[in-house]
């Protein structure tokens, strides 16, 4: 396997007594888009700021391009581009000026690509940042990031203010980066976006990574929703191992959820009961997410 672009090992960050990051571990490889999801306040932005050397880790290691994120921040940043979740721009500078400034700070130049991006995102670069909406401020940061030559791109909820057309452009640009072999860290709340673009996903909750893997792998960890109608009655079904939430619908069909690893035994049982119709829906990322989110609610209630 190639060496990872980003390597995080048991990263911790405390603010006074509060443990913002308890245990963060994951890697990102070149040519990979890594989705970083989790509820508000779980530690996504803190993780990213630690990776950028803005915050100093309290424990564990984090390296980018094999270098320490805090000590070698300047060297790392010459090959990195970043778009924060909340983009704040100097109110008295124009969008165009700020894009150029960010490019120059990254030792890049305003190129044809920059102009193309300004056009594609439909940004008026002559307007003062004071007059921009949230979406327009994000566009400024995105245009600067996409026209920067880098090997690692970090996006922290970059599309929360964009309209669907601009979101589409964002996704195309990210896929281009991926095709060019760049590594991308995408923190997002828009799960359809993550589902569509990310190769692997990490779920963070209360400062811990609770799950990493491909969406495919994660689906195995969760339940498939099955809607089934059989000729013979199925009285034992609710008692089967791994079967949950059995509901009988009005037309006589049943809806139930089954743990992915027990799908096999359920099918075996159902096949004996003469299946009339069967519909299996794989869990969406949203289901996955809600499951972790719910369990958080439960832990909080306890």
């Amino acid at each position: 396997m190639t060496t990872p672009t980003l390597h995080i090992n048991h990263l911790q960050k405390n603010f006074g007594k509060f443990q913002a990051l308890k245990d963060i571990t994951f890697d990102i490889y070149p040519g990979e888009v890594f989705g970083f999801i989790g509820p508000n306040g779980a530690g996504k932005s803190t993780t990213i700021r630690t990776l950028l050397g803005i915050l100093k880790a309290s424990g564990g290691q984090a390296t980018i391009f094999g270098k320490d994120v805090f000590k070698d921040a300047v060297a790392i940043h010459s090959r990195l581009a970043y778009v924060p979740g909340d983009v704040y721009l100097w109110p008295n500078l124009s969008g165009g000026e700020i894009i150029d400034l960010f490019l120059k700070l990254a030792h890049n130049k305003h190129t044809e690509k920059t102009d193309q991006l300004i056009k594609a995102f439909q940004l008026d670069p002559t307007k003062k940042a004071r007059t921009y909406s949230k979406g327009n401020r994000q566009k400024v940061a995105l245009i600067a990031a996409f026209s920067t030559e880098a090997d690692f791109y970090i996006f922290d909820e970059p599309t929360s203010g964009l309209d669907p057309l601009n979101e589409e452009i964002f996704q195309q640009e990210v896929l281009k980066l991926k095709a060019a072999g760049k590594a991308v860290l995408l923190s997002s709340h828009i799960l359809s976006e993550v589902e569509k673009m990310c190769d692997r996903i990490g779920i963070i909750r209360q400062g811990k990574i609770v799950e990493t893997g491909t969406l495919q792998e994660m689906r195995h960890l969760t339940r498939t929703v099955v809607k089934v109608q059989t000729v013979e009655p199925t009285p034992e079904i609710a008692a089967l191992v791994g079967v949950h939430n059995v509901e009988v619908n009005q037309n006589g069909s049943m809806t139930l959820a089954v743990d992915s690893e027990h799908l096999d035994s359920l099918m075996e049982y159902l096949s004996k009961k003469q299946i009339l119709s069967l519909q299996a829906t794989p869990p969406t990322l949203e289901d996955l997410f809600l499951r972790y989110y719910d369990s958080e609610v439960q832990t909080n209630e306890q």
Binding site: F15, R49, L52, G53, I54, L55, K56, A73, V74, A75, H77, S78, L80, A81, Y82, V83, P84, D86, V87, Y88, L89, W90, P91, N92, L93, S94, G96, E97, I98, I99, D100, L101, F102, K104, L105, A106, H107, H110, P125, T126, K127, K128, R130, T131, A141, A144, I154
Partner: protein, 538 residues
């Protein structure tokens, strides 16, 4: 009005007072303790006629008139001295206070988007502005009332009930007048920064105008609203007319502010933001050029403002430096060259007092610039910069550099102004040596202040505002120390207290190098902290 523009004003007033309670309290306590504290000290300081006569001689010189205002003709009691000396000074402080609260609560709330959320409710269009104005009315007149009661209890000889309340409410109406100026200015400009700049421009013009009229012909001071507080003639004629004038002007200004506020869109101002460049100029490419680009207007305003202030002070040097005018006897007693020398000495002493003013004024933008390393972080402006290959050293170094340059050129501008203004009116040329001594004397002391700010930014970023407090205390000690006969050790609390009395005496190279070294050490210590700390502080 069928659709009440003032709907919920009462609620918002209570909310604003509650929200600002700590800040209101701090300002009120500082102002009151300053005023009442000085008042209670005055009896012991200027209790007998001899002490009064002595201080009057100083206060009647044009130099002091230009700073503190015109003294009444006949001064008999320590209360007269107190009123003459404190009125203009307290008016200036109350101007700063009112500008701060009003601009913050009107344009500031609008700029941050908070007003948008408030306005989306069933709240009148003018409710927020009205609430702010009521708040400042309560603040000013609350403080004014306590002033009056304080004077009543301070038992200063020569006070009377009428005069105590006149002075208290006179200062209160002056403060309220500044609140109403700020209310209008907040409608004109569409952002806090230029609103503040504009407001201080109005103040600066009034201050300089009253200074010139006071020194030349104080009747004309009636034309300057800031000069009205001087016309109270407290404990002498006890004239309530200025209070009425200030209140009338305030009402007119408030009505103008209401009119402007109800005839404009939320978030906009009469002075609209112009579009900018489509791409950055080659001069904007790194932190240093960015900080310059962000602050160039305010640095230039400070530079020319102080230059003009210097020229104005310089232009009264001929009046100040004319002992023959004060006492015609000298003409018979002394030779022309002796008179010239004596005149020059007076001018030098006056310049010495002005230097502390220039130094403090230069440090206001200087310290604010360094504090941006924290404030810019809080507001999120610097986050993307940190993700670029820009080292912390470069960010820190650039800011320290631009701050040092700013303070230096503003100090220089003040001296240049004095030189130009002075030479334009004086018969004898001011020796350049004076200004050399000024700059070499005061420059390293100002650098210590920058060093302290640098240290705070590096190690205690939450406490960066403390240095402004230290600056104000230092100014107070240097400016009023002599008048209030503060103990000598207080002077050693500030870097300015260690200077040789430039430009009367030559500057002291040992102090120069010692202070400069201290400033450098502080800056380096600050960097050590800045390099290793979290940049975003929760």
């Amino acid at each position: 009005m069928n659709n009440n523009q003032f709907q919920m004003t009462g609620f918002l007033t209570r909310f604003t007072l509650k929200k600002d309670r700590l800040k209101l309290l701090v300002w009120a306590v500082v102002l009151i303790s300053l005023f009442v504290g000085v008042a209670s000290k005055f009896t012991s300081l200027y209790g007998n006629q001899q002490a009064i006569d002595e201080i009057i001689k100083t206060l009647k010189t044009p130099a002091m008139v230009s700073l503190f205002g015109k003294m009444p003709k006949d001064v008999f009691t320590s209360a007269d001295v107190f009123a003459a000396e404190m009125t203009v000074f307290m008016a200036i402080i109350s101007c700063i206070m009112n500008y701060y609260f009003v601009i913050r609560n009107t344009r500031g709330e609008e700029e941050s988007g908070i007003l948008e959320m408030i306005q989306a409710h069933s709240v009148g269009r003018l409710a927020n502005l009205s609430a702010t104005i009521i708040e400042s009315f309560i603040l000013n007149f609350g403080i004014g009332l306590i002033y009056a009661l304080g004077l009543q209890f301070a038992n200063l000889s020569g006070t009377d009930l009428n005069g105590n309340f006149l002075l208290g409410f006179g200062l209160a109406s002056c403060g309220f007048m500044f609140a109403s100026i700020a209310a209008v200015v907040s409608q004109l400009s569409d952002n806090t920064r230029s609103a503040t700049t504009l407001a201080y421009l109005v103040f600066g013009i009034m201050y300089i105008a009253r200074m010139i009229t006071d020194v030349t012909d104080s009747h004309y001071t009636w034309f300057v609203p800031l000069g009205w507080v001087e016309k109270l003639s407290t404990y002498q004629q006890n004239n309530w007319l200025p209070v009425i004038l200030m209140l009338i002007l305030s009402v007119i200004l408030v009505l103008i502010a209401f009119y402007l506020n109800s005839h404009r869109d939320l978030g906009s101002g009469l002075i609209a933001t112009k579009p900018g460049r489509a791409s950055a100029s080659p001069l904007l490419h790194d932190p240093l050029t960015l900080f310059w680009r962000l602050n160039r207007v305010s640095i230039l305003v400070w530079f020319f403002g102080i230059l003009i202030l210097g020229m104005t002070y310089g232009s009264i040097f001929n009046t100040i430096g004319d002992i023959v005018k004060t006492n015609p006897m000298f003409k018979q007693l002394l030779s022309t060259s002796a008179i010239d020398n004596a005149n020059l000495l007076i001018v030098k002493q006056f310049i010495g007092m002005l230097m502390i003013v220039f130094a403090v004024l230069a440090l206001i933008p200087g310290i604010s610039l360094i504090n941006y390393l924290k404030k810019g972080e809080d507001k999120g402006y610097l986050e993307i910069i940190h993700a670029t290959p820009t080292s912390r050293l470069k960010l820190y170094g650039s800011m320290i550099f631009i701050s040092v340059i700013t303070v230096t050129i503003i100090l220089f501008a003040g001296n240049l102004g004095l030189y130009l203004g002075g030479n334009a009116v004086m018969k004898q040329n001011l020796p350049l040596e004076i200004f050399q001594r000024n700059l070499l004397g005061y420059w390293p002391a100002t650098m210590i202040f920058l060093g302290i700010s640098a240290c705070l930014v590096g190690w205690l970023p939450k406490l960066i505002s403390l240095n402004f407090g230290y600056l104000i205390i230092s100014f107070f000690i240097q400016y009023f120390g002599k008048l209030l006969k503060l103990p000598d050790w207080t002077e050693k609390l500030t870097p300015f207290g260690y200077l040789a009395k430039v430009p009367v005496k030559d500057f002291n190279p040992t102090t120069f190098w010692f202070q400069l070294a201290l400033a450098l050490i502080l800056i380096v210590i600050g960097y050590v902290g800045y390099r290793r700390r979290d940049l975003v502080i929760n």
